[in-house]
Each structure stands twice: as C-alpha cells, then as structure tokens.
C-alpha cells in the first residue's frame, strides 16, 4: 500500500526537502521506474552526465541514492515516494544492485527484526550508506557473502565518487580559475565531504590541501591547475582500474583511498635489507599528524616510506631514529609503492657508520651523496611510476645557495652544486606548516647554513612540487635531523 503524504513528510529531514522533491517527482524525468512489495527504484536523469540510481525500502524504511547529497532521504528518494503515492510507479521486479540491496535489507530485517529502524534515523548516515556500511568494529564481522557485497558496494561508491570528482573538475575548467566560487570554502568542502562518503579519503585530503593553495602565492593558478590535472589522471585511472597493469592499478587504488589491510601487507614478500633511516618529516593533515620516515636500503638502493599517524594527544612512532640503520624486513604496499611497513627487525638500530669506517671499506650508513642533477633524475624516476606523488625522497651533496626567483621576483634559498640548484620550500608558504615544537623551531635554511657554513654537505631531502624540504644533514660521524616536527602540544609523548 502506497504511503500517504503525511508518511512521506514524516521521513523527510524538513518540509523544505519535500518541497524540493516535488519538481523531481515527474515520471518523464525518470527511467526504469518500478515498485514491488518492499522496494521502489528508478534512475533520475538530471543535469549531470550520469543518472542517479535511487531506491527506497518502504517496508524497512531505508534509502539509497547515488546522488552527491548528504541528506537522507535525498530529494530523489522523496520524489520516488511522492510518485508512488500518486500511483505513478509501475509494478516490477528489481534487478542488479537494487535487487541485491533489497535482498540484503530483507535478510538483515529477518535477523534483527525491528532493530533496523533504530539505525536509520534521518541524517544519521550519508546518502548511499545503509546498514552494510557501518564502520568496522561496530558489529561482528558480516558473513563472507555480505563482505563481498559490502566490498562491491564500496567499489561502486568509489566509482561514483570519482565520477563526481571528474564532473567537478570539468566545472572548474569550464568556468576558469578566476571563478569567484574557488574562494568559497563550500566549493572545496562539499566535494571533499562527498569523496569521504565515497570512500576516497585520500582524494578528499588532496582537495582540502588544494583549497589552501588558492590565492596563497602569486603563481597559485599554476599550482592549482597542476593539481587539477593530477586529480583528473587519478579519477580517470581509478575508473579504469580493471584495464590498467596490475602494479599501476594497485598504486592508483591505494592513492585514491582504497584501504589495504595491515595484515595483508605484512603477509607479502619482505624486502630485507639494512635500512638507513635517512630522514623524517611531520605534517598536519586535517586533524591528524602524519610522520614520514624515509628509509633507504643499503644494498638495493631503494627508498621506502614508513608512515605513522597521531590524532590529538596520541603518540607518533619514535622507534626509527634518523641517522641509524636497521636490519629489517620491510613489507611494501601493493604496486610500485614507496610506502611500507616494518616487519621483523633482525638487529637493533646501530649507530650510523662513520666516514672513517667508510674509508676503510665498510658499507656506509647514510644515503649516498650525489649531484643535484642525479638527485633530480632519481626523483623523476619515482614520479614516472606515480606522477601524483607529492613528496619524494632523495639524497644529495650540495651547498646552500642564494638566488633570485624570477617567478616571484624575490630572493630564495636553494641548494646547489655545479650541476644545478633546487629551491628550498618556504615553510612560511601555503603548503607547509611553520616548524612547530621546541626542537625544530629554527627554520631549515638557518639550520642548513649553520651546519654547513655554506660548504657542500650530504643531505637527505624531500622533493615537493613547490620546493625541496631539507630533512637531515649527514656530517662526519653523525646526522642532524632538521625535518619539520609535529607540534608538541598536539601530539603526546611516546
């Protein structure tokens, strides 16, 4: 039996939501409309290139829609109910994802009885989520078929998020970077929120960082356009994962935000080496402090990235000390990833081998010095594999130099040698937080000047599109960690 107008209003988040739904409740704007004894469904064709697939469980009261709205139920779901109440929805048999969704809800209803209603207060969950997408740990793990279904749904949501991202990118390119909309937080925040809903959290972070670039420097258009291009590459690649070579597909999936379980990574083939802890950098991303430890295999010469995260008053990983080396198994994430987890440690950290010992023929314990040109080539090789990387490590033997920046018409500090120079990122700039915390309250250029006296020194640096970040200075017999450090008032003691 179709719902009454009062019943529809009772599930709407506001009267305005019902009002907004009425223009949408026009059968000519819908395709594949249908209703059975449990579910209503249909595809709404709006202004976008992709239709919104909408379904309503009128028995268990649940809603599903691929539109970007975070309101539950959205206007499309309400419109389905309105058309049904007007007897404008023909009877039918659900197919595809609607059928699977309906079956899952029916099964869940039979297991939980009336509990189903409790978890579905309006506005309690994002638009395309239902009981299958509760955060892990809230309930017992679902049975395997449910896990597969949940995985399929996550993939579907991610694809929808990527489609939405590309639509948004297209809007930016059509209307131009001079569009005043770029100065409004909502332009970025709304998309970031939708990407989070679509399980593409990494892309959401990129969008938030991108928002911080707008208007921040005289050349911000350049920086924003480059990032839009990379987001386009990722969204296109992410929507074609099945056609990509496996390593690239893995890299794209993890970059977009596909979660890889820690246990799965640790189950992979280890990369065993004597790993020099070459550098460290801390950066705040939204409300999380992220610590990057850059390790370099002495035998393989390969770089690896070990991440740790800390929310407010949580501790970052202090077990890796810059300037020491560990003999350990590293387990890399899928694809040509730099990111890895430290597995078995075969020995405790050993002091970095001093230069005198290196001269005696023993393996060195710091990244090898190389020219600026060779370091740039090393960075380029890593970016060929993953052009969207925004931080890449390398090592170099170089001096601090002062040069005129023709783009900004200001003086900048760089590191350089006879083969070239690379600008040092201005940490007062838009993409780097100022150094925080007591031990790193001297900016890196000053530390580099003090430690080198203007002479060439061995350095570990982090390349970013906006300039390099000096992380460590390797002196005779010791290493000084000068990387950006987390705010000690934010992270707790280890």
């Amino acid at each position: 039996m179709a719902w009454s107008a009062e019943q529809i209003e009772s599930v709407a988040s506001s009267a305005a939501a019902v009002t907004a739904a009425h223009p949408v409740a026009t059968p000519s704007r819908w395709r594949d409309l249908g209703a059975d004894e449990r579910v209503l469904w249909g595809s709404f064709h709006g202004s976008g290139t992709e239709p919104y697939d909408t379904a309503v469980d009128h028995i268990g009261v649940g809603f599903r829609c691929t539109c970007p709205s975070r309101r539950v139920p959205c206007k499309h779901a309400l419109a389905l109910l309105i058309m049904w109440s007007r007897e404008q929805v023909p009877p039918g048999v659900p197919v595809g994802e609607t059928d699977r969704w309906a079956q899952r809800r029916a099964e869940r209803a039979s297991h939980h009885g009336d509990d189903e209603h409790d978890g579905h207060e309006p506005d309690a969950t994002p638009a395309t989520t239902d009981v299958d997408d509760d955060p892990p740990g809230r309930d017992d793990p679902p049975p395997v078929p449910d896990r597969d279904a949940a995985r399929n749904e996550r993939v579907e949501k991610m694809m929808e998020g990527l489609t939405e991202l590309d639509r948004w990118l297209d809007d930016r390119i059509r209307t131009g970077l001079a569009d005043p909309a770029l100065a409004r937080y909502s332009t970025w925040d709304d998309l970031a929120a939708r990407l989070v809903d679509a399980q593409a959290g990494s892309l959401a972070n990129r969008i938030r960082r991108l928002a911080g670039l707008v208007g921040a420097t005289p050349t911000w258009h350049d920086d924003v356009l480059a990032e839009l291009g990379l987001l386009h590459l990722l969204s296109q690649a992410g929507r074609r994962l099945g056609t990509l070579p496996a390593p690239l597909a893995d890299a794209v999936a993890t970059t977009v935000g596909w979660h890889v379980r820690r246990a799965d990574v640790l189950a992979g083939v280890p990369d065993t080496d004597r790993w020099v802890v070459a550098g460290r950098s801390d950066h705040r991303e939204d409300r999380i402090e992220v610590r990057r430890h850059w390790l370099r295999g002495e035998r393989s010469g390969r770089w690896a990235l070990v991440l740790s995260f800390a929310a407010y008053q949580q501790s970052l990983d202090d077990s890796l000390v810059v300037g020491t080396a560990i003999h350990a198994d590293l387990h890399r994430y899928p694809g040509p990833a730099l990111r890895a987890l430290v597995g078995t440690r075969h020995a405790e950290p050993a002091a970095t081998i001093f230069r005198e010992e290196a001269d005696a023929g023993l393996p060195i314990g710091q990244p090898p010095g190389q020219t600026i040109e060779d370091a740039s080539a090393e960075v380029g090789r890593m970016l060929v594999a993953e052009p969207w990387l925004d931080r890449v490590p390398t090592s170099v033997t170089a001096a601090v130099v002062h040069r005129r920046d023709h783009r900004t018409a200001g003086d900048t500090w760089s590191i350089g040698d006879h083969t070239g120079s690379l600008p040092i990122l201005d940490r007062r700039g838009p993409t780097e937080a100022a150094p925080r915390g007591a031990s790193s309250d001297v900016d890196p250029v000053t530390m580099l000047l003090a430690l080198s006296g203007g002479r060439p020194v061995d350095l570990t640096i982090e390349w970013t599109p906006h300039g390099i970040v000096p992380l460590a200075v390797h002196l005779d017999g010791r290493t000084i960690d000068i990387g950006p450090r987390a705010d000690s008032s934010f992270v707790g003691a280890a």
């Binding site: 390119i173 209307t175 740039s376 040698d417 070239g420 430690l451 006296g453």
Partner: protein
C-alpha cells in the same frame, strides 16, 4: 611548442575557462595522446592535456641553473663540543637555565667550539643580553657573525648590541646569584656537608619549597668536586618525607651540573694546543 610553452598556454586558458576560451592547439606527444582519446568537449580535452603535461613536467624535473656558492666563514680550529654536551645545553636551557652561563663559560675556557646546530638557537635566545650574546659569538667563532649576516632574524635587538667595556669584563665571569648569608657559608663546605645540611632541613621542614630558589643557587655555585656527594646525600632522603620531592629536584641539579662539567672536560692535547678562545 615546448612542454613549458604548452603549460603556459594551458594556465592562461584555465584562468578564463574553456567556456570563454578554446584550449590551446596541441602538437607533439601530448597532442597525440589527447587526440587519441575520446574527448567530447573542450573542457575534457583541456583536462586531459593538463594531466598529461603535468605528468611529463614532473617526470622530467629539471634543476635550475647553478648559483654562486656563498663565501664560507673563516675556519675555526677548535674542536666542536661533543654531542652529549650539545644535548646537555638543550636540557639546561629548558630545565636548568641557572647552569647555562657556567656551561658556556666552561666550554669557552676549555677550548671547545659551540656545536653548529646550537648556534642559531643560542643566538636567538640571547638577542637582548649583550654579555651572553657576546659569549655565544666567542663560543661559536666566525660562524656566528657569518650566520647573522645571512639570517637577519638572528641579529641582536636594541639592547643586545655592542659590548660596553664593563660588559666585556663580565664575559668570563659567572653572574652572582642571590644567596642569603646564612647559606653563603655552605659554599666553602664539602659536598657531603652541603648535602647533609639540605637533607636535614628538608626532612625536618626547616627548608621547604619556598627555599628552592636559593638552594638551587647554592648548588649552582658550590665547588664542583662536591656535586657527586650532594647528589648522593639528597638522593637518599626518605621517600616518605615531605621534603623528598624537593631533595630529588636538587639532587637532579647536582647530577646535571656534575655531568655538564664532565662533558666539557678539556679536549685532548692536540686540540687544546690550538684552542685559544679568550683572545678572539
């Protein structure tokens, strides 16, 4: 058209948007890449071109032209203080600043050079105090002036400028600390006696937290050879005593000062021969 020229064109178009300006004509590899794709509208073609161009530019990251190196500061032959001493300075400046003057004077007088990683922080810490700033300049050698030349933020403020003759005389002297006469007599006693006096006082309540400041000054200025005994005696104060916390703090001060002086022991003979600080 080079990739950089193409990028410049793309940036210009992106400012106006493809609704108002057509994307640039593409040639070369990027042109082939975009033409090879199914792109129904100018904005999609433009996005593809931007993505391809960014990937190519990043993969081919090129350094800028070489720049002239800086003229380094004059050489300083003194040995650099040991890492433990550097760590100690960081600890002192955060926990026991009363010992910092002695640390710096001892470092200079024993022929060490201030570790370079400490120089920026020391210069910044003493921008206002002429005497302490002058000590940093002596301890750091030519590097300090060179660094200030290149980093104006490290320059002295109005009150931290040039030294007066009086201030110059104070360079090698420890500043006097306020110690009441009844405690001043302790300075001539042995470590065991000083420690015993304080231990008894904190246990019977005659010395309490209100006396912390002057007791700190006593331990900061007593003869160094008694520091180990002071730490031992104060460390043995009954943990159930109300004065235990104060005794522990003072024991830590005594230990810290003793270790500080140990770490700044004279460099070996080879280094000591070339270490002449006072004339700099």
């Amino acid at each position: 058209m080079t990739v950089d020229e193409l990028w410049s064109e793309l940036v210009t178009t992106s400012l106006l948007g493809t609704d108002r300006r057509d994307p640039p004509a593409l040639d070369g590899l990027i042109g082939e890449l975009v033409a090879d794709s199914v792109r129904p509208n100018p904005s999609a073609r433009m996005l593809t071109a931007v993505g391809a161009c960014v990937a190519v530019r990043r993969a081919g990251v090129q350094p800028a032209a070489p720049a002239d190196p800086l003229s380094p500061p004059a050489a300083d032959e003194r040995p650099e203080c040991v890492p433990a001493a550097s760590d100690r300075w960081r600890h002192l400046t955060s926990s026991w600043p009363v010992l910092e003057d002695e640390w710096m004077i001892t470092l200079i007088s024993r022929g060490w050079r201030l570790a370079p990683e400490l120089v920026p922080a020391a210069l910044r810490r003493h921008r206002r105090d002429r005497v302490r700033r002058a000590r940093v300049f002596v301890a750091a050698g030519p590097l300090a002036a060179w660094l200030v030349d290149h980093v104006p933020e490290l320059a002295a403020n109005a009150s931290g400028g040039s030294l007066t003759p009086t201030a110059r005389e104070q360079l090698g002297e420890l500043p006097e600390l306020p110690i009441p006469p009844e405690l001043t007599v302790l300075l001539d006693r042995s470590g065991a006696e000083i420690g015993g006096f304080i231990a008894v006082g904190v246990e019977d309540g005659s010395l309490a937290h209100a006396h912390r400041g002057v007791l700190v000054n006593v331990i900061a200025r007593c003869a160094p050879d008694g520091l180990a005994d002071i730490a031992d005696v104060l460390g043995a104060v009954d943990s159930r005593s109300s004065g235990h916390a104060l005794a522990s703090v003072l024991a830590d001060l005594a230990t810290t000062r003793r270790r500080m002086l140990d770490e700044l022991g004279r460099p070996d003979a080879a280094h000591a021969a070339s270490a002449s600080v006072t004339g700099r």
